[in-house]
Symmetry: C2
Subunit: 353 residues, 2 copies
């Protein structure tokens, strides 16, 4: 493998936005989506960043995404809304859903916003984190865009990696940001392994006989394993019911595999929850308690050989800070793809030389 | 091991209520707690049923529980409440919290109720299931009452098994009820193994060197493992922040080990969420979609050797139905304990002969 190429994050954002504009996305929307995709790369969620640009563009050109959507509230009450994404890019739908949740939580204390007719929106943590500048807690649930998980004991892949994210503000400490698939590995990580030509560790996937599957290029022959066995199966199912079925979005057999089908609207469902800690007590006291907890955990006795006890999200935050300064590391093969894309679209290339 | 003794569930409920009344609990409260404890045994949550009676009574006699509590709403908004349990039995606090959540969800669409100064309340599923008769979805999170889980990479047990439960109503099918500790095994299951004289499977616990610990009688020498490794650690932490820290309840180092200390108020925190599907669309359509999903999963192709694909909660529901008819199976050693208890308290014994 050759060395990764470092790219400035602002330049990456600019490049992604130009690419979307070139296929007809309104400039403001292109900037929003590009910014969230570059944020994904910045924090190391490389399965959800610019690597998705080509498939997203393919879907747009195939008519699988609505570039002039009317993203609207279909149902609402004091503490909830159901947002119809009108088949827009998922990033736009979810940003809007998060904004609605924050507004409603300001008065109701807690708000839950579900989406339908949305699309893939990138890493779950991006949306849970939108609550943090408002001193709120965020939770996010989503139905994944391809089924890679059978029910426990089954071999038919009727469930996705349905992720969960949570963002909890701290005081002086960085926030706690959990972002996890309900499978041992997210499918994006399998794709990233394949693109880097690496093998997967045992425990990520099995074949239809239940035997370990290690080559990510053979991923289509097997399926992902849920965390904690039947528990992860239950969690993936419940997340899908909350984010999909409840909203009238696709779940189970109705999920469109967006890798195989670039035309059919995915009717992706997501759910975002905003919780205002000021409704429960003094925000400063809450944040101080989170700080204390973080320090207690981080400063506690470690197992022999362990250098540091990490908080959820700590490594992503460190990576984001480093890549903001030094540039985002992109695989040379990905850079070649983006070079060709720039030529095709006749836009300023990402590569500078 | 000798054969279990079968006990009628109504008789069990009556016995538990008498025991609580004998130590001064008001009759109505005793009936409520007894009913929830017997329900725990009925559904096979035997780590949380009558096996807890003696420790609960010990705590009550030690002054560790308030028998004349003023369970009250401390803070509230349209979609949330913070309930101060006044150190009552957790079952009473959580039943009240669930009722408040249901009432608020009827207008707000979704409601989140947190508790503090609560206590151990038995299996998580009992409270999530309280939404089902109201055609609502229920979620439940709790801080466990003893720390058995270190942060990932650590050896100091600063986290508990912090459980998650979810109940989702179906139409013609039984509801989906998930009830899971964020550890591979709940500590109650370790206790149940110990009381039955059985060994634990590998993967439940490790010792301080990270080596497998199989003897449940040596449980104090090691700690539980989280599901999915660092993911389960993150999940346990987030559940604790939502159910504990947010409510001003104990979390981390502040958690009282209720096995070791029967006097200090535990300040247990829990959170319950009620979601009204009628706010999102037609309830009948939602239930029909849940039915379809259940049938798709259950009827899907199975791995060789697998007899049946289970839904979360299906086995508990079957066990409850069977034990309701045939009686609840109690270990002879537990029955002896309850015989001695009946004598001490001078109440009608559970054993009939």
């Amino acid at each position: 493998m050759s060395d990764p190429i470092l790219v400035d994050h602002v330049r990456l954002r600019y490049f992604i936005a130009l690419a979307f504009e070139a296929v007809g996305m309104p400039a403001a929307d292109a900037r929003t989506v590009a910014s969230l995709m570059a944020d994904a790369d910045l924090q190391g969620s490389d399965g959800h960043g610019v690597i998705r640009l080509v498939p997203y563009l393919k879907r747009i050109r195939s008519g699988g995404v609505n570039l002039k959507p009317d993203i609207r509230i279909e149902k609402e009450r004091a503490a909830m809304a159901l947002v119809n994404g009108d088949n827009a890019m998922g990033h736009l739908v979810m940003k809007r859903a998060a904004e609605i949740a924050i507004e409603k939580a300001k008065t109701a204390g807690v708000a839950w916003v579900g989406t339908r007719w949305s699309n893939h929106a990138g890493p779950a943590s991006l949306y849970a984190k939108m609550m943090l500048p408002h001193d709120m807690l965020g939770l996010y649930f989503a139905v994944g865009n391809a089924n890679h998980l059978p029910p426990w004991g089954g071999v038919e892949m009727l469930l996705s990696t349905n992720p969960v994210a949570a963002a909890i503000p701290a005081g002086e400490e960085p926030p706690i940001v959990l972002d996890m698939a309900t499978t041992v590995a997210a499918y994006g990580k399998v794709k990233a392994k394949a693109s880097r030509g690496e093998m997967m560790p045992e425990g990520w996937m099995v074949d239809r006989e239940g035997k370990p599957l290690l080559d990510p290029k053979r991923a289509a022959e097997g399926f992902l394993l849920p965390i904690g066995g039947y528990k992860g199966y239950g969690l993936a199912l419940v997340v899908g019911l909350l984010a999909g079925t409840l909203n009238g979005a696709a779940m189970g057999r109705d999920v469109i595999d967006f890798n195989a089908d670039a035309q059919t609207a995915t009717n992706t469902g997501q759910a975002i929850v905003a919780i205002d800690p000021s409704a429960f007590g003094e925000v400063a006291e809450f944040k101080a308690a989170v700080d204390k907890l973080i320090r207690d955990l981080r400063g506690s006795e470690r197992m022999a050989g362990v250098e540091h006890i990490f908080m959820p999200g700590e490594q992503s935050q460190q990576k984001a800070a480093r890549q903001k300064k030094e540039g985002i590391a992109l695989a040379p093969s990905l850079m070649q793809t983006l070079d060709r894309l720039a030529e095709q679209l006749d836009i300023l290339p990402l590569r500078t030389n």
